[in-house]
Structure formats: C-alpha cells, structure tokens
Amino acid sequence: MNDDVDAVTAAPQPGARPQFVSPIVPKGTIAGRALVAIVAIMTFLASLTTGAVVLVRAAASDWQSEVAREVTIQVRPVGNRDLEADTSRAADIARRFAGVADVRVYSKEESSHLLEPWLGTGLVLEELPVPRLAVVRITSGAAPEFQQLGRLLAEQVPSASLDDHRGFVEHMRSMGRAAFLGGLAVLALVLVATVLSVTFATRGAIATNRTVVEVLHLIGAKNTFIAQHFQRRFLGLGLQGGVIGGGSALVLFGLVEFLSRHFLGSAAGDQFGALFGSFSIGIFGYVAVAFQIALIAGVTALASRRTVNRTLETFE
C-alpha cells in the first residue's frame, strides 16, 4: 500500500493534468516477493538440470565419437600358436582393409602397463596367457565394414577377435537418452510446481482484490480485460523470478567453466576434463536456459490468467 500513501501525500501542483497511472491490480495485494522467490528457485533448479543434461550429452557424444574412431583387435594365446606372428598377421590384415588409417600394435611393455592397475608392477608377461592388443584407427569420414573385417580375422587368424565397442557406444547412447529424459521430467515437475504456486498466489490476489474485480465486472469489464491485468502483473513477477533464477544458474555455469579452465593441467582438472570435456554448456546451453526463463514466465502468466478466468466464471 506504499503506492497509495505516496498518492495521498504527493499532491500534484495546481493546474497539473490528472492521469490514469494506478494499476488495475495494485502491487501490494499480491504475494509478489514470495512468488518471485518461488519462481527464481524453480528456474534455478530447472536451469541446473538443463545445464547438467547438456554437459552429460556433450560428454557422452565426445566419448562416443572418440570410441567410434577406433576398434580393437584382441589376439589370445591359444595352444602352440605363435602369439607374436598371429598379432602381426592380424595387424597386416587390418592395415590392408579399406577405411583403416593406422594400426598400432601394443608392445609387451605397453600391455603390462595396461595390466598394472590390477596386477601390479614387475609383471612378466611370458608367464601369463595375456592377450595382445592392436588398436585400429579409422580414416576420418570412412565407415568400414567391421563385420567383414571380423570374418577375415576369424578365417585367417582364429585366435583374433574384433571389438568395435558397439556395446559401450550403445551404453553411452542410452545414458545420454536417460539423462535427457530425466531432465525433461525434472523440468515438467518444475513447471507443475510453478503452476500450482501461481494458482494459489492468483487465488490469494483475487480474494484480496475482490472488490476491484466485482466493480470492474459490474461496470461492464469483460473477463478478458480483468484477466489481462492479472496476467500482466504475474508475467512481470514470473520474468523477475525467472531472470534471477536463470541468471544465477548461468553465473554458476560461467564460474565453474572459468574454474575448470583455471585448474586445467592440475591432476583434478585433468580428471574433470576427461569426464566433462571443457565443462562448457556452450551456446546451446545458454539459449536453452534463456528459453526456460521465458517459458517459466509465460507459464506463470498463463496460469494466473486461467485461474482468474475460472474465478470470473463463478460471477453472475
């Protein structure tokens, strides 16, 4: 009611032309601050979810493309066969295959390094039936027939098998999909919670402004006129809350991106980078958060309009 007090005390100069400046729905009669806080929190959580989904999808996509550029040939020690000869033969077959850029056979030392985390250092490979690996890098843009390569290897080097990492890629895809669907579910929950909060706030505002609504109704205001004024007020509150919540989330993402760059090169930074790449939600992420702010503000306005219209339907 501060506006009212101002209007009483701030009398205009004599001769000043009167103006219609008061809003139809007065500011002080809506639980504005509480609603802005609720919308801000909802938008912040929704933006964090969106950012997390964008990061997970980007990281999964990076891992997928990284993994999809390579396949692995595994040559197992079988019976009396010469493991070295089988390995180089399998590598030769792969090298001659269309679409293969490079084949690198892991040396015995490299193989023992790979096993160190499980078996410890000082490993003597000759004492163990450890398979040998060859990493086959694919030419950029090529799509080799891995099934044919697998068949060739099986025919000519029976102890060799080809792993095209399909299972891992599929796993990555389903993880990315699950993250996306989870994000959508959280966003849907946030929107439902926002609609409910706004509905209660609008009902409160209508109850407080019942005289205003009744007078408007009885002097011939159409329901759309009354609803429009409530909608405008709630759109303002929704935008305010959305900008605060979404803006805070964007600042947080920017800060974490800055810190991840700052710590690049440190052990923790490298591990973080390996998991999430550059930890940047990118232009798409920022646009998605901006869209969310607009969406939540729009939902706030529409929810209030719907509530006002439903209330006005009960008026004769």
Partner: protein, 219 residues
C-alpha cells in the same frame, strides 16, 4: 427499456424473496423503488444491474432476453447501465479521477479522449479539488458524489442508485436528488432505491413499492 414478466427470485433453496414481479421501466423515466427494510429492494436492484439471474420469469433489457445472453454480451449490456452502490464501492488504490474514469478505460477509450470530460464532471459534482485524493480520505458525501460521477461518466441509458442518500445529511440529499433530476432531463432513465419518504416527497415521480416480495406500481 426494461421489462419484467412474472419474475421470481430465491437464494438457494430458501423462500422466494421476490414474487411475480411484472413491470416496465420506460426510456427517459424517473422512478423511486421503495419498501420496508428486507422487502427485496437490493435484490431487485441486483437483478436490474445483472448481478443476479431470476429463478423464474422473463427479464428483457434493451430488447434482449437476459437468459439467452453469454458473459461478454452481459458485460456489453452492463456498459449501458450506471450503478451507484449503497456502499459506493470505490476502488481504494485509485484516485477520485481514476475511479470516475474507470468505466471509460474499461471500454478501451484513450485517456486523451476522456480526460477533460472526467475533470469537467468532477468539477460539476463539486470534486474538482479532490480529484487527486484517494477514497479513504474522502468524506461520506464526497464518496457518494464520486460514485455518482463514476455511474454517469459513460452516459448510461439507465441509472440505478441504491440508497444514494443513505449516508448523507438532508441538504446534500437534496442536492443529489437535483443531480438525478438533471440527469433524467438529459435523457437517462433513473431508478432510485430508497426508504427515505422525505426524499420521495421532494419530487413527484413514479413509485415502485415492494412489499413482502411483491411489487405495487404507483404512477
């Protein structure tokens, strides 16, 4: 202009508060609606300004059967009726000027087109110096005049006033009556609901008397 045919009204499952009302309000006419307290004056006024629908009978307003009208059409009809409420119903957060200008804003008129007209009317009802004031700081008489100004600003064809002199002293009541008579002369049909015999005795007009929910018309 207004036609009631065998109109009855009850609230919920209660008894009928208005029974078999049949009467007309003609264009440019002036009438008092009177009767003892609880006779149903306010209920009849609410039927007239479309805040209630009858439980039976036919009401036509400006040639429209109100039973067939949708919400938007009802709103459009209400714009042709000015109402002075018994409790004024001024909007507290709006200035006197804004309260009076509200009916014109509601119909979408630009402020530039009505500002002078509103100021002129406020001066005519003696509120020229109070147009910046908010209703809580107005006296009873000032509120009454502001409510009347709001009711007539859009030049309604029918003006309904519910106990317009109930909260004012006799001299102001007389001035307000003169205001209604002037409005009637300019073409507005007037219905004044009152139980103030002295007020009715000051002007020779048709009387609609409500008694136990039934109406008796004295031309």
């Amino acid at each position: 202009m207004v036609r009631f045919e065998n109109v009855g009204l009850r609230y919920g499952l209660g008894p009928e508060v208005l029974r078999d009302l049949s009467f007309r309000i003609e264009p440019h006419s002036f009438q008092f609606l009177t009767g003892p307290s609880g006779a149903g004056k306010t209920s009849l006024m609410r039927l007239l300004f479309l805040a209630l629908r009858p439980t039976r009978g036919l009401i036509t307003l400006f040639g429209h059967d109100i039973a067939t009208l949708n919400k938007d059409a009802m709103a459009t009809l209400r714009r042709r009726i000015g109402v002075v409420f018994q409790d004024f119903r001024l909007i507290d957060h709006m200035t006197t000027y804004e309260n009076v200008a509200l009916p014109l804003r509601v119909v979408g008129q630009e402020e530039g087109s009505f500002r002078d007209e509103v100021v002129e009317l406020l001066q005519w009802v003696g509120l020229g110096e109070r147009m910046w004031a908010l209703p809580p700081v107005l006296s009873g008489g000032e509120k009454q005049r502001a409510a009347i100004a709001r009711a007539v600003i859009a030049r309604p064809q029918l003006l309904l006033a519910d106990e317009p002199t109930g909260n004012v002293d006799p001299s102001l009541a007389q001035r307000l009556l003169r205001l209604f008579v002037e409005l009637n002369k300019s073409g507005t049909s007037i219905v004044i609901a009152t139980h103030d015999i002295a007020l009715m005795d000051q002007y020779d007009a048709r009387r609609l008397v409500l008694h136990e929910g039934r109406i008796h018309v004295y031309e």
